[in-house]
C-alpha cells in the first residue's frame, strides 16, 4: 500500500481486516432489515456453514469439488504450458495450432461442457476434461507470450557453454517464465473452480455445484451462500499458504 500514512505492513493488514469486518456488518444489518429467508444475514449463513460442517456434508462435497479442481488444474497447466512452450519456440507449431487455440479460447465454457457430456456421457473424465479444456488455451497463450519475451542473449550464453536441453529449460527458460506461470495459476484457480461448479450442476451427483442445484430447487439461499463462502475461503487459503510463499521463494533473488 503506497497511500499516505499507511506505509507499514501492519497498518495495511489492520485496514484489510477492518474492511472485512465492515463488509460483514453491512451484510448482517441488511439481512436483518430484509427479514427474508431469501436474503439471510451473515450470522445465519455462518451458522449454516458450521452446521453443514458438523454434519460432514460440507467437507464431503467441498472435498470432491476440490479434487476435481486439482485434477483439471494440473491437466490444464501441464498441457497448456507444454503447448505454450512449443508454440512460442517453434513458429511452425504456432502457425499450425493458433487457429485451434483461438477457437477453443472463444468457445463458451457451457458449450464445451455440454458437448463433452453428450459425447462421453455424464462421467468424471468428461467433467474434468471439460474444465481443463476451458483453462488450457489461456495458459498456452500466457506461456507463449512468456517464451516470446525470453532473453535471447541468455539463451545464446547457454548454447555457448553447452547447457543442454534440460539445463536450458530449468535454469534459463523457466525462471523467466515464472511470472507468466504464476499469473496463469492465479487466474486459473479463480476460473477453474467456477467452471467446476457448472460442470457439477449439469452432470454430477456430488460436489458443491450439485449441492447448489439442490438448494436452488429448495430456494435455500442460506445453504447456497454457505457452500459458496466455504469455497471462497479455501481458495483464499490456497493463495496464502501455497501461492504467495512459492512466489516469494521464486522471487527471492530480486530482494536486495
Amino acid at each position: 500500500m503506497v497511500g499516505r500514512g499507511l506505509t507499514t505492513g501492519r497498518q495495511a493488514w489492520l485496514v484489510r481486516a477492518l474492511s472485512v469486518l465492515v463488509l460483514l456488518l453491512v451484510w448482517e444489518v441488511a439481512g436483518r432489515l430484509a427479514a427474508s429467508p431469501l436474503a439471510p444475514p451473515a450470522s445465519t449463513v455462518l451458522a449454516t456453514m458450521a452446521r453443514e460442517t458438523a454434519s460432514g456434508a460440507l467437507p464431503h462435497h467441498v472435498g470432491i469439488t476440490l479434487a476435481r479442481v486439482a485434477v483439471s488444474f494440473l491437466l490444464a497447466m501441464g498441457a497448456g504450458t507444454a503447448l505454450g512452450l512449443a508454440m512460442g519456440w517453434w513458429r511452425t507449431v504456432d502457425l499450425w495450432l493458433d487457429s485451434a487455440l483461438l477457437l477453443l479460447l472463444n468457445l463458451p465454457a457451457l458449450v464445451l461442457i455440454v458437448l463433452l457430456y453428450v459425447w462421453f456421457g455424464l462421467t468424471e473424465a468428461a467433467a474434468v476434461t471439460a474444465v481443463a479444456l476451458n483453462k488450457l488455451p489461456t495458459t498456452a497463450v500466457m506461456v507463449r507470450e512468456g517464451v516470446r519475451a525470453l532473453d535471447g542473449e541468455l539463451l545464446e550464453m547457454g548454447r555457448a557453454f553447452r547447457f543442454g536441453r534440460a539445463a536450458t529449460l530449468r535454469h534459463i527458460v523457466l525462471p523467466q517464465l515464472q511470472p507468466y506461470l504464476f499469473a496463469a495459476t492465479r487466474s486459473g484457480l479463480a476460473l477453474i473452480w467456477k467452471i467446476v461448479l457448472v460442470v457439477e450442476l449439469l452432470g454430477r451427483s456430488d460436489g458443491v455445484g450439485f449441492q447448489i442445484q439442490v438448494y436452488f430447487q429448495l430456494f435455500d439461499v442460506a445453504r447456497i451462500l454457505a457452500y459458496a463462502l466455504a469455497f471462497i475461503l479455501i481458495v483464499q487459503v490456497i493463495e496464502w499458504v501455497a501461492l504467495q510463499p512459492l512466489e516469494r521463494r521464486a522471487a527471492r533473488w530480486k530482494a536486495s
Partner: protein, 229 residues
C-alpha cells in the same frame, strides 16, 4: 591442436553488410586481438567464431571434428543468470569446481560466492563472466571486451589473471577490443579492422620483446594508431 580458420567474404545482418573481406587464423597458443572502431562488426565476428551464428558467405571453421572445441566465452554483456548464485553460475556453465573457487578467490569474488548474481555490481559481474570463461576447461577462448567497465585496479588484476591462465594453458584466443594498447599488451598478433562493413586493414605480429618493454609497446601502439587512420 585446436585452430580457428576464418575466411569471410561477406556477412550481412538483416540485409545490411557488416563484415567484408576478412581472412585470418588463430593457432594453438596464439592470442589474436581484433581491434576496430565500435560498430564495425567485431562482436558479429566473435559470434560467428562461437558458432552462435552460421549464416555467412565464406567459412569460419575450427580444426578437429564433431561439435568443435569447448569454448570459454566472455560476451560484451556479462550474461549471467541473475536468479542463480555466483557459484551456481560457474557450475552451470560446466566449470571445474576447484578451478572455479580458485578463480573467484583470485578475482576478488570469493566473499560473493553464495550471493545471487543479480546483486553483483557491473564490475563484479564482468569479473564473474571472465571467471566463468576461464573455469570451464576451454580449448579456446573468445573474449569480447573482457575488461570493459572495470576500474583500473580490477582491469590490471583481470589482465594478470588472463595472462597467468594463458601461460598455463596456451589455448587459441580471440580477443575483441577497441583499445590498441590492450591489444598490444596481450596479443601475439593484432588485426586492425576498417569501419563497417569491416575489412582487414592489416595483421600485425607483436614480438614478445615489444610486449615486455613498455616504451616499445607504446611506440607500437602509436604506429598502429597512425596506420589505422
Amino acid at each position: 591442436m585446436t585452430r580457428l580458420t576464418v575466411d569471410i567474404r561477406e556477412k550481412r545482418l538483416s540485409g545490411r553488410p557488416v563484415l567484408g573481406g576478412l581472412a585470418f587464423s588463430v593457432d594453438a597458443g596464439e592470442v589474436v586481438a581484433v581491434v576496430g572502431p565500435s560498430g564495425c562488426g567485431k562482436s558479429t565476428l566473435l559470434r560467428l567464431a562461437a558458432g552462435l551464428d552460421r549464416e555467412v558467405v565464406g567459412t569460419v571453421r575450427w580444426s578437429g571434428e564433431g561439435a568443435g572445441p569447448r569454448l570459454g566465452v566472455v560476451f560484451q554483456q556479462p550474461r549471467l543468470l541473475p536468479w542463480r548464485t555466483v557459484r551456481q553460475n560457474l557450475a552451470l556453465a560446466g566449470a571445474d569446481g576447484a578451478e572455479g573457487e580458485r578463480l573467484l578467490e583470485r578475482l576478488g569474488l570469493a566473499a560473493k560466492a553464495d550471493v545471487w548474481a543479480a546483486q553483483l555490481s557491473l564490475g563484479m559481474a564482468r569479473r564473474l563472466a571472465l571467471a566463468r570463461a576461464l573455469a570451464v576447461d576451454a580449448q579456446a577462448l573468445l573474449l569480447d571486451e573482457p575488461f570493459a567497465s572495470l576500474d583500473e585496479g580490477n582491469q590490471r588484476l583481470a589482465r594478470a589473471v588472463l595472462a597467468e591462465y594463458l601461460l598455463r594453458r596456451p589455448v587459441p584466443t580471440l580477443l575483441v577490443t577497441h583499445d590498441l594498447a590492450e591489444a598490444v599488451a596481450l596479443a601475439h598478433r593484432v588485426l586492425v579492422l576498417s569501419p563497417g562493413p569491416a575489412r582487414l586493414l592489416f595483421d600485425q605480429a607483436v614480438p614478445s620483446g615489444v610486449r615486455a618493454d613498455p616504451t616499445l609497446a607504446a611506440a607500437t601502439v602509436a604506429v598502429l594508431r597512425d596506420l589505422a587512420r
